[in-house]
Structures are given as C-alpha cells and as structure tokens.
C-alpha cells in the first residue's frame, strides 16, 4: 500500500505529468480509425493494384516496349522514379541517424515518421529496377547464388552494387525502425486491450526498461546510427555511380556521388515536410511537433539546396572550361535543347524557390514550407529526369540522337507507386506511434 502511495505520488509529479501528456498525445493519434481513413486506405490500395500491378502485368505480357524507352534512351522514367524514391528514403536515415550522432534536438519530432518513410520509400524504389528489366522473370539472376552453370554475377557492374546497396539499405533501415519502436510498443501495450495488446506486447519483446535493457539498447542504437550514417552516403553514391561509371557525357562526372547524396537529403527533407505538416494538423500533434523543429528542417533543406546549386554550377562551368565538344554539347542541349523545360523547372524548384527560406517568416510558416516542399519534390524528380534522359538523348554520335517521352504504362506505374506509398504511410500513421515517445520524454526536465 505504501508502495501504491509512492506510485501515486510519483505520477502526481509535474515532470511525470508532462511525460504522460506526451504519451496521451501520441497514443490518441492511434485511436479508432474512422470511415474516411479506411476510405483513403482503400482508395490508395486500389490505385496501387490497378495502376501499378495492372500496367506491370500488361508490360510483362507484351514486352517492355509498351513503354517509351528507345535507342538511344534505354532508361526511361522507371529509373528516374527509382532514383527519386531512393532519394526520398535518405532523409529518414539522415534525420534519425546523422542528427542522432550530432545530438540535434529537433530530430525527435520527425525521426519516427522519417524512418517509416524511409522503409516505405525504399520498397517503392526497389520495385523499379525490376519493373524496368526486359526479362523480369530472370531477375533472380542478379543475385549471386551457387548454380550448376558455375556462373556468378559481375561484381564490377554498378547495377550489381545497387543490388547490394539497396538490399542492405532496406534491411538496416527496417532494423533501425523496429529497434526504435521497441520501447514504444511496450508503452502502447499499456493503452490497449485484447488482441492488439498481445500483438504490441509480443512486438515489444517484453521490454520493461531495466538497466540491462537500456544499456544494451543505447549501445545498439548508437551502433546502428553509426552504421547507418556511412550507409546512407554509400547508397546514394552507388546510385549516382550507376550513371557516373558510364562514359555518357553528362553522366560521367566525379562530383556525382556527393552531389546525389546532397540531392537525396534535399528531396528527403522535402518529402518529410510534405508528410508531417498535414499529419501534425490531422492528428493534433502540435504539442509534440513544435514549429522550431520545422524551421530547423527548413534550414537543412536550404543548406542542401545550396550544395545542389553548387553542383549545377560547377558541372556547367567545367563543361565549358573543358572545351570538350561532347561534354559541353550535352549541357548546352540541357539549357536550350528539347528538354529545356525540364531543366528550367529543375533549376527553379531546386535552386531558386528554396532561397525564400532565407526569410525567417517563410521558414516558420507551415503553409509556405508545404508549398516549397512540393516544389522541391517536383524539382528533384525533374533533376533525375534531366540527368538520366537528356544525357542519353544527346550522346556522341549525332546520327543516333533521339528524344524519349514516357507512355501510359510508365505513367500509370508511377502513379501506382504513389498509391502504394500513401497506403503504407496511412497504415503506419494509425497503427504505430508516429512520434518516438521515449525520446520525447527524454527532453522533459
């Protein structure tokens, strides 16, 4: 009984009050999915099923030719989307791992959502290399496994590096995501009854927050952060090398690795804002997602945007400096050629529009941030479009130049992935704590 009094007294403590408030805020976001919610989930599921699976089945049946790819542009918007989604994925790791190492406070508002986004986005990205294969039914040949042909894969191929990079990335981010969730599962367990309670309980692996558990947990989390940080660099570098290893003018350039990484983080921050701003509103998370944290994210975005701008400039200037007719030919064509619309959209969205973030008022207005984040998403999609497609369309031999434009199966599949992405994210938002409760509590004093 004395003990119960003690508990009551403890619970009455103001700090404890604050902590419980956090719990309630986050958990309440997980209550009773409404009809609208299920409607949305159903809608996105349908989009995914019809637009992606349908079109893909058709493509497999007829042949990859139903898309718009051609000579010389062998890679269409499938690869554009691949890079786009991998890029989206990166900010998740950045926010949860890198900011963890830098002990930045504002990560705690976003890291859970960002990690979820990472996992889902990598799934989306992972689909595309398969979708774009001419003979997807032999996709398993891309994995090294002992076979009676005694034939292994070509580890010198950038595409093979991709296989390793992407699968590693998916695995590690899933583990990272799950590890972060373990204590929260234990908390959610407390708020649920019946079957759900058992499920969450099982997922929490019997977490009680003892000293051993916390000690190992902290170590594990630090290690995973330590692994994930170089991983995030390597993954997008590898993606960039899919192009930079080629000798295609506009692809074969040394700055690609860091440039792509920056771009990835840039687009990732954009997508985090696009997702979190509505989520904050709809699920009433104003208390746990303070505006200052959004401002910090905006600054990160501005910073990466400037790196990207630096890359654009250096590439262009050095192409001119080189006096190399192929190199400069490509860049001239970007600015004034068939794809100039894409190029200028890219420049505006990625370099010009983020400049508004220099203004404090813009940084602190969620509306403005949301608009800019949309610009960034669009801009980064077009950046990949320009890099991949324009470069291929204007290579060495003038006879073989040619312009690509996507056709309906490609567009349909692209829409389908968005369906998948939002479906998954909605499910996450209702069934998992969208903010890392324990980490939020850590900030309470």
């Amino acid at each position: 009984m004395a003990h119960d009094h003690a508990v009551a007294a403890a619970a009455a403590h103001p700090a404890s009050e604050k902590r419980l408030q956090i719990e309630r805020d986050v958990i309440s976001a997980m209550q009773r999915p409404g009809l609208v919610y299920w409607g949305l989930v159903g809608f996105f599921a349908t989009v995914f099923g019809v637009c992606l699976l349908g079109a893909w089945a058709y493509q497999i049946y007829k042949g990859i030719g139903v898309g718009g790819q051609m000579n010389p542009v062998g890679w269409g918007i499938y690869i554009v989307n691949f890079v786009f989604w991998v890029g989206i994925a990166h900010s998740g790791t950045l926010i949860s791992a890198v900011l963890f190492l830098f002990r930045s406070k504002f990560r705690s508002s976003f890291n859970r959502a960002a990690e979820a986004m990472t996992v889902i986005a990598v799934m989306c990205a992972g689909m595309y290399p398969l979708i774009h294969l001419g003979r997807v039914w032999y996709a398993f040949w891309l994995f090294p496994y002992p076979n009676q042909r005694l034939l292994w894969t070509n580890f010198k191929s950038p595409l093979e590096w991709d296989v390793f990079a992407i699968s590693t990335y998916l695995t590690i981010s899933v583990v990272f995501f799950y590890v972060g969730l373990i204590p929260d599962f234990a908390i959610v367990k407390r708020y649920t009854r019946g079957l759900r309670r058992h499920i969450y309980s099982a997922l929490s692996l019997g977490w009680v927050g003892s000293k051993q558990q916390w000690r190992n947990y902290n170590m594990l989390y630090a290690l995973l952060a330590g692994f994930a940080t170089p991983l995030v660099l390597s993954v997008h570098s590898v993606v960039s090398w899919d192009f930079a290893m080629g000798i295609v003018p506009g692809w074969h350039t040394t700055i690609f690795a860091p440039y792509f990484v920056a771009g990835a983080i840039f687009s990732g921050c954009g997508m985090v804002l696009t997702l979190c701003i509505p989520m904050r509103k709809l699920q009433k998370l104003e208390r746990v997602m303070p505006i200052d944290h959004f401002e910090k994210l905006a600054k990160t975005m501005l910073f990466t945007s400037m790196i990207v701008g630096y890359a654009y400039t250096v590439e262009f200037i050095l192409a001119y400096y080189s006096g190399n007719v192929y190199e400069f030919g490509v860049f001239k064509d970007r600015a004034i050629g068939h794809y100039k619309f894409a190029y200028w959209i890219m420049v505006f969205c990625n370099v010009v529009s983020p400049l508004a973030l220099f203004i404090k008022r813009v940084r602190r207005s969620l509306g403005a941030l949301f608009v800019i984040s949309i610009f960034v998403n669009i801009g980064m999609w077009f950046e990949r479009f320009v890099i991949i497609i324009q470069s291929l369309s204007h290579e060495f031999v003038p006879y073989a130049w040619g312009n690509y434009s996507p056709r309906w199966p490609e567009v349909s599949i692209m829409i389908g992935t968005f369906g998948f992405f939002f479906m998954m994210f909605l499910l996450f938002a209702k069934f998992l704590p969208v903010v890392a409760i324990t980490e939020k509590k850590e900030e309470v004093h």
Binding site: I247, T254, A311, V314, Y321
Partner: protein, 358 residues
C-alpha cells in the same frame, strides 16, 4: 573585435615572410616552381577552414566551440599573409599551361584580379564574422552563413585555378570541393593543435571541445577519403585517356609518385581513422595533436603531388616557407604573449546563449 593585435608587428612579420619567399624565389628561379603556391594554399586553407568550422558551429547553434573562438578568430590574420604570398608568386604564373595561350577567363590579368578581390572579400567577411562571434552579437549567424558561402567559393576557386589548371584541359568536377574539404580538415587539425598548446594553461579546454574536435577529425578524414574514392573510381572505371592521364601520372606504379601517393592516403585517412576509432583517443591531446601534424603534412604532400609531376617544386623553399608560416601562425594564435595584448576576459569569455532570434 575580440582580439586586438599590434598591427605594426604583425605587418612586419608578414612582410618579412613574404620578402624571404620572394628572395628565395628569385634565387631558385625557375626551379622554385609551385613551392609558394603550395605553402600559400596550405595556410589559407587551414586558417579559413578553422574559421569555417566556427561558422558551422554557430549556424547549428552548438556551444562546444565557444572556448575555441578567440584562437580561431586570430587565424583571420593568416589570410592576408597568404594573399601576400600569392602576390609574391605572380612571376611564377608562367608555370600554368594557359599562360602561353591565354583565353578570356584564364589569363594572368583577370586571374590576379579576381583572386586579389576574393582575398579581400573573404578577409573582410571573416574578420566581421569572428568579431561578431566573439562578442556573441545578434548578427553572428548572418555573417556565419555569408562566410561559409565565401569559404566554399574561395577554396573551390583555389582548387580549380591554382591546382587543376596546371593540367589543363584535364578536369574533374569534384576537384574544387575536394580541395575545399582538405582545407576544412586541415582547419580542424590546426584547431586541435591549439588545444595542445593549452594544456599547460589554466583555461584547459573542456573534454567536450576535445571530444568534438576528435570526432570531427575522425569524421572529416573519412569524408575526405570518400571524396578521394569518389574521384578515383569514376576515373578508374571510365578509362578515358583524357581523364586517366592525370591519375596515372600521380598514382601509377610506373611513376616515382606511386609511393608518396599511397602515403598521402595513409596519412590523411588510414592513420586518423584507425587511431580515433577508439573513443578514448579522441580526448587525448597528445594523440590528437600528433594526428593533426600527420594529417597536415599529408595535405601538404597532397598539394605537392598535384603540381610536382608537371612543374618543378623546390623542396627546400617549400620547407623553409612552411617553417616560417608555422611560426607566424603559431605566434598569431598564441598572440597574447607574443604579438598583441588581449584582455583576459575575452579568453575566459563566459559561454553565453548564442544570439537566438525569436
């Protein structure tokens, strides 16, 4: 201005250094080659890099760096010395392949003009920034941002124009950034050396400062390696003569440079990485400062190997210059007993809240 130094003495010292360099250059001509370029680039790099680190810390409103501010601030006065060396080096511009067939952009006149202008600009902004920072003024953040941008621009320009054009028309888009990162890394090392200089003093820096510096050295050495690899693999894989030529000349086994080339990689990345892998080492001043010296010499060799295969570089002059500049820099940093007087409270400046602006 947080630190006041005796301008006359400082000016005198710088001019002496420049004069010696100039004299030696005359004597050794034309064997002097890129020696002055290398020395100048090295010290400009470490000074501006160190200040950039401060700026970065200000922007991300960290607090750990505050005890370092005064020393970092005093490094501002190394920049003009570098500028002076650049001017002294003008006669040596003939080592550049574009000197014979000048184009609009790459010809002596504009080249000198824009670099002098950049020096002036960077110096002014850096001075403004450190001043604000040491005073913990409102505008610190603003000037920090401006400075970082200028730093990137300046070091990229130095990388591209002082080092890359030596092999014109060879080019690598990452080159400017690569030199910039090397400079930033040397800046970190310079600061950890000043930490070493502290040990015998009352104001021994907090563990946090050392830990942070150690961590940064670890991180950016690795980041440097990442840039190095990014450049290497693209060129190795592409196998386009116009590109591979540059690397083949510097790391190919058939050249005399293959060993130094590998040493450089070992000094700038391998050593600090594996030593600092052990968390404890990050906080041991003797370890970090030894590493700092190794990395700095690695960066020196890096700049050297960029020039050496195509133009003669007089090693004696290089060594002499580095010695002189080290002495000058050290005395500027530890200026409060050598060149200038500084009110104690600046050094023991209370760590205060950064200029938050809500």
């Amino acid at each position: 201005m947080g630190i006041r130094l005796n301008p006359m003495r400082w000016l005198l010292a710088s001019v002496i250094v420049a004069a010696i360099a100039f004299g030696a250059d005359r004597v050794l001509e034309p064997a002097a080659g890129g020696a002055i370029t290398i020395a100048a680039a090295l010290f400009i790099g470490l000074a501006e890099g160190a200040i950039c680190l401060m700026a970065g810390a200000e922007i991300s409103d960290g607090h750990w760096h505050r005890p370092l501010l005064p020393r970092a601030a005093s490094l501002v006065y190394v920049i003009p010395v570098g500028a002076l060396l650049f001017l002294v080096n003008i006669p040596q511009l003939s080592i550049y392949p574009w000197a014979e067939d000048p184009s609009g952009w790459l010809s002596k006149g504009p080249f000198i003009a824009r670099h002098v202008a950049l020096f002036a600009l960077v110096f002014a902004v850096a001075r403004k920034f450190v001043g604000e920072a040491v005073r913990g003024a409102q505008r610190t953040r603003f000037w920090a941002v401006i400075y970082v941008i200028l730093f990137v621009a300046h070091l990229s320009m130095i990388g591209i124009e002082w080092f890359m054009t030596i092999e014109r028309p060879w080019f690598s888009t990452l080159f400017g950034a690569f030199v910039m990162v090397s400079a930033f890394l040397s800046g970190i090392c310079a600061l950890s050396l000043t930490v070493f200089s502290w040990r015998r003093r009352t104001d021994a820096p907090s563990k946090l400062v050392q830990k942070s510096l150690g961590g940064l050295m670890f991180g950016f050495a690795t980041f440097w390696a990442y840039f190095y690899f990014s450049q290497l693999i693209v060129i190795w894989y592409g196998n386009i003569p116009e590109e591979t030529m540059y690397l083949a000349k510097r790391i190919g086994y058939h050249t005399p440079y293959w060993l130094p080339a590998r040493l450089i990689f070992g000094m700038i990345w391998v050593t600090p990485f594996f030593v600092l892998l052990r968390r404890k080492n990050k906080t041991l001043a003797p370890v970090t400062s030894t590493l700092a010296v190794i990395v700095l010499s690695g960066v020196t060799m890096l700049f050297w190997i960029m020039l050496a295969p195509v133009v003669p570089v007089s090693i004696p002059l290089l060594v002499l210059l580095i010695a002189l500049l080290t002495f000058l820099t050290a005395s500027i940093v530890r200026s409060y007993d050598l060149l200038l007087r500084v009110p104690a409270e600046v050094v023991h400046e209370p760590a205060h809240q950064p200029a938050h602006s809500h």
